[in-house]
């Protein structure tokens, strides 16, 4: 399916071992980069490849690295965000399970490019099995000299620590992740200053998603042009699309950035089961505004989905079949954000709880259009006014559900 068979995710289950990774030419790119390249050229190559963040915000990784102040006496840190908690997303888990060494190699290259000697991988608390394997892989790499001091005979070293989260969705937000990693309550910080300048332990810090970092070796091995050729001009490479819900073959699919949503659902995930049709699709994890069946001819890349009024987010596609009550979807969505709001800022803390109360009242006692208007009004009170993106992540999908399925919801709550 992919040119040259270069895949982020190897297919066989034993591929995670160092031996298997070395057979595939593993760590050769890192060796080449660390021994022959200048850090500034590495950043330039990644910038040129337009590697957009795979975690949700879609910010170009190379540009992010460029924000880290050059030089400076203090330490700099690399944090890999493996707190994969966006509902409908299960791709980083596969990277960690099947290609942990590829992540480590990406970390070596990133650390070299930015001048980092110390890295953390923040793994979602629920991923116990995943992080056990990750730790084993790191131990293998350390024993073989791919992690630790004096890598590839150079003076460079990288120390890697795996940290387990405790199961809070908010810790996937980069500054909340840093707070949690520092041993405090996982709550977002005010930005600016951005982590690239003031991050972990008040030092410059690069934070990238697992998939983003694991993609880095490809770019350095085959060049930015090759990478861009696999994706789009402003959004390079392939992505891991998680597909769940009413499809015949749910799973994670590695496909070029910009693959049409309809193709992913109907061709790769096998389409809906016999006799069912699509009622709605959430294209980028729960936080992405819902799309109606008529809106599915959209390319799965950051800019196209943004133009379509939704977002690519973490590329977690949830297919909702005909016959599903949208009031239930609205309830599940409202409940999730009301539960996961960290409680720090006012609009998110109280707004999400208020919306949930209204939705629960509508489910139990019914209501009218004014109640739906109230939900919209509350979502608008949250949107763009919160400390971190969780506010928008809650307000946008709720707003979209109520707007796009208004007549159904009005019928559902009428008593």
């Amino acid at each position: 399916m992919l040119e040259n068979g270069v895949r982020l995710l190897p297919v066989d289950d034993d591929s995670w071992r160092l031996e298997a990774y070395l057979r595939r030419g593993g760590y050769e790119t890192a060796r080449k980069v660390l021994t022959t390249m200048a850090p500034v050229d590495v950043i330039a190559e990644v910038c040129k490849a337009v590697l957009r963040g795979r975690g949700g915000a879609g910010f170009p990784a190379g540009v992010k690295w460029g924000f880290v102040p050059k030089g400076g006496a203090g330490p700099k840190y690399l944090c890999v965000n493996a707190d994969e908690a966006e509902p409908g997303t299960f791709k980083d888990r596969l990277v960690l399970l099947r290609a942990p060494h590829q992540l480590l190699e990406g970390m070596l290259i990133t650390a070299f490019a930015v001048g980092i000697r110390s890295a953390f991988i923040y793994v979602r608390g629920e991923y116990a099995r995943v992080s056990r394997r990750l730790e084993k892989a790191i131990a293998e790499a350390r024993a073989a000299g791919y992690v630790g001091p004096r890598l590839f005979g150079t003076d460079l070293g990288l120390d890697v620590v795996v940290h387990h989260g405790a199961g809070a969705y908010i810790c996937g937000e980069e500054t909340a992740l840093l707070e949690s990693l520092e041993g405090r309550r996982g709550q977002p910080r005010v930005k600016p200053p951005f982590p690239a300048v003031v991050g972990l332990f008040r030092s410059p810090t690069v934070i990238n998603n697992v998939e983003t970092i694991a993609t880095v070796p490809q770019i350095l091995a085959r060049g930015a042009d090759w990478f861009l050729g696999r994706g789009l001009a402003k959004d390079g490479g392939t992505r891991l699309y998680s597909v769940s819900g009413a499809v015949r073959r749910p799973g994670t699919f590695e496909l070029p950035v910009g693959t049409p949503l309809r193709e992913i659902i109907e061709v790769h995930a096998g389409g809906t089961p016999e006799g069912r049709s699509i009622k709605a699709v959430i294209p980028g994890g729960l936080s992405a505004p819902v799309l109606r069946p008529g809106e599915l001819d959209v390319a799965m890349d950051v800019d196209s989905l943004s133009r379509a009024g939704s977002m690519l987010g973490s590329a977690g596609i949830i297919v909702i079949p005909e016959g599903t009550a949208m009031l239930d979807i609205l309830h599940a969505t409202a409940r999730f954000y009301a539960h996961e709001s960290c409680g720090k800022c006012t609009p998110c803390r109280i707004g999400t709880a208020w919306i949930l109360k209204v939705v629960e009242r509508l489910r139990s006692w019914g209501g009218g259009p004014a109640d739906l208007d109230l939900i919209l009004r509350l979502a608008e009170g949250i949107k763009g006014r919160t400390l971190c993106p969780l506010g928008d992540a809650a307000a946008l999908p709720i707003h979209a559900l109520v707007t796009k399925f208004r007549s159904e919801l009005e019928r559902a709550v009428a008593r």
Binding site: G343, C345, I350, W354, G381, G384, R385, T386
Partner: protein, 500 residues
């Protein structure tokens, strides 16, 4: 300003020039534009969580936090556009949706930000038909403080104060989302000497002091500035007293002492010792002249002072140096000390001018000093060499004037009694009742610092003038007035000093 580069920006059409690095919020403040806020406090790190201070900054798509946005050259800020007003209303609507609205019985009513801001920026009808969260309403959190979690707006000022200022960290936020609440850790209540500040900085009535709760209402309080006399720091304070209703005779006047901002001395905080100073103003006060331990109705301090002057005059000039002894203290203002110097040292030529002060206590590393008198530096500046006398040094005197009630802190009462019994004429000038009262011929009631005007020099050498914050009782006089009157009746010019 601090030699920093100046930056020009426009706020609501006003051109403002501020130092580089200033936050938009402060710049607006300097331009006289108040931006509503809950979590921002100039003495604490920016939290950015209440979202009340959002403003419009030209060129930026979203509303920005004025408390954390830093000024830039040419920045155009708008603080009261439709969008900003809408955002404020929404924040207020959210906060009020989970607020108990028990203003009629809330001690913060009248000085509550939520109340004030609703009045100024809200005024909408409630859309909340759902039930509020129910939470603990009167949770003791230590040091006489009570926490009402329903009123709390989770601005975390209290939490941050204890983390960043006292570094004791007794309070934390527990739970998540709408269940978030402020609390103490198991068995570790708030216990530090700055706990009262939590009440001051709480923008709503979530943390209240047992001492103030249900005693009066904020709108009855007259707030006047003064300087704290309880250690040598000289913190800026506000003395909050009730002058009219509901005060009856002999009822307390000062309901509260709160911190006043003074960047040069105390920043934004005062210690609990200073806050408890309200007892010093109202409790155990002498309100009339007493003779031999009993109040004398109708005897004015001026007439009592005539007796003092007569006693002094009865000692022939040459013998006065050794036969008249005076005890002063470092609570006297610089002006009073100058008068005392002119009267006792220069005028009467006394050799026995001593000082009896409060004993030093333990200092902390924040504001409280070991020295517990406010004007030690002023005593030195007035040219005194303050020294506590041995009782034997007082024994030979025939007239003794004691200013202040601090002698019993240094000597056993029976020793003082024995010494004073041997002195034919002895007078006490004291604000509070104490063990000396029965040992002297007469006690003339004097004012406490909050009732006076004057100047103190604090431990760092900073001169601070203050005016009366409360009116003393009619028969109570400041030492300055007493010294001036005494000098006058003895025909001594005690100098130019102010004898208000």
């Amino acid at each position: 300003m601090n030699g920093k580069k100046q930056v020009c920006l426009t706020i609501d059409g006003l051109k403002v020039q501020v130092a580089e690095g200033t936050k938009v919020f402060r710049a607006a403040e300097q331009a006289g534009i108040a931006i509503p806020h809950f979590c921002y406090h100039p003495g604490l790190e920016v939290e950015g969580s209440c979202r009340m201070c959002l403003v419009e900054i030209e060129g930026l798509p979203k509303l920005e936090l004025s408390c954390s946005a830093v000024v830039r050259e040419g920045l155009v800020v708008r603080t009261s556009t439709e969008r900003v007003r809408e955002a404020r209303k929404d924040v207020l609507a959210f906060l009020l949706a989970e607020h108990p609205l028990d203003c009629p019985i809330c001690p913060k009513a009248g000085e509550c930000r939520l109340q004030d801001y609703y009045d100024r920026h809200g005024l909408f009808a409630s859309r909340m038909v759902e039930a509020r969260e129910r939470r603990a309403k009167k949770l003791p959190i230590g040091r006489g403080l009570l926490l009402d979690r329903e009123r709390c707006v989770l601005c975390t000022r209290c939490v941050r104060f204890l983390q960043q200022v006292t570094r004791t960290g007794e309070l934390g936020i527990f739970e998540r989302a709408v269940r978030s609440e402020v609390g103490i850790y198991d068995g570790a209540p708030v216990d530090n000497n700055y706990s009262g500040n939590l009440v001051d900085i709480c923008p709503v009535g979530a943390i209240t002091a047992d001492d103030f709760r249900f005693k009066t209402r904020a709108w009855f309080l007259a707030r006047r500035p003064s300087v704290c006399p309880h250690c040598s720091r000289g913190c800026a304070i506000v003395v909050e007293s009730v002058e009219g209703y509901p005060l009856r005779r002999s009822e307390k006047r000062v309901y509260r002492i709160t911190a006043r901002e003074n960047p040069a001395v105390n920043g934004f905080w005062i210690c609990d010792l200073g806050r408890d100073g309200r007892h010093d103003i109202d409790d155990g006060r002498h309100v009339a002249v007493t003779e031999n331990g009993a109040p004398v109705p109708g005897l004015s301090w001026q007439r009592a002072l005539a007796g003092v002057a007569a006693a002094i005059r009865s000692i022939p000039g040459p013998e006065r140096a050794d036969k008249i002894a005076v005890l002063l203290n470092a609570r006297l203002t610089c002006e009073e000390l100058a008068l005392a110097k002119g009267l006792f040292v220069t005028g009467l030529g006394l050799r026995k001018v001593f000082f009896a002060d409060r004993k030093p206590g333990a200092a902390d590393d924040l504001l409280l000093t070991a020295e517990r008198m406010p004007n030690r530096k002023g005593v030195l500046a007035a040219g005194f060499t303050p020294r506590l006398p041995a009782l034997a040094e007082l024994a030979g005197a025939e007239v003794l004037l004691v200013f202040g009630e601090y002698l019993p802190e240094h000597f056993a009462e029976e020793d003082i009694a024995r010494t004073l019994a041997g002195i034919p004429a002895k007078y006490l000038f004291a604000a509070h009742a104490g063990p000396l009262d029965g040992l002297v011929d007469a006690v003339l009631p004097v004012a406490v610092p909050a009732e006076k005007s004057g100047t103190y020099i604090n431990t760092e050498g900073i001169l601070q003038s203050f005016s009366p914050a409360v009116r003393p009782c009619p028969e109570v006089a400041a030492e300055g007035a007493i010294l001036a009157c005494l000098a006058n009746s003895l025909g001594i010019s005690a100098g130019e000093a102010d004898a208000r």
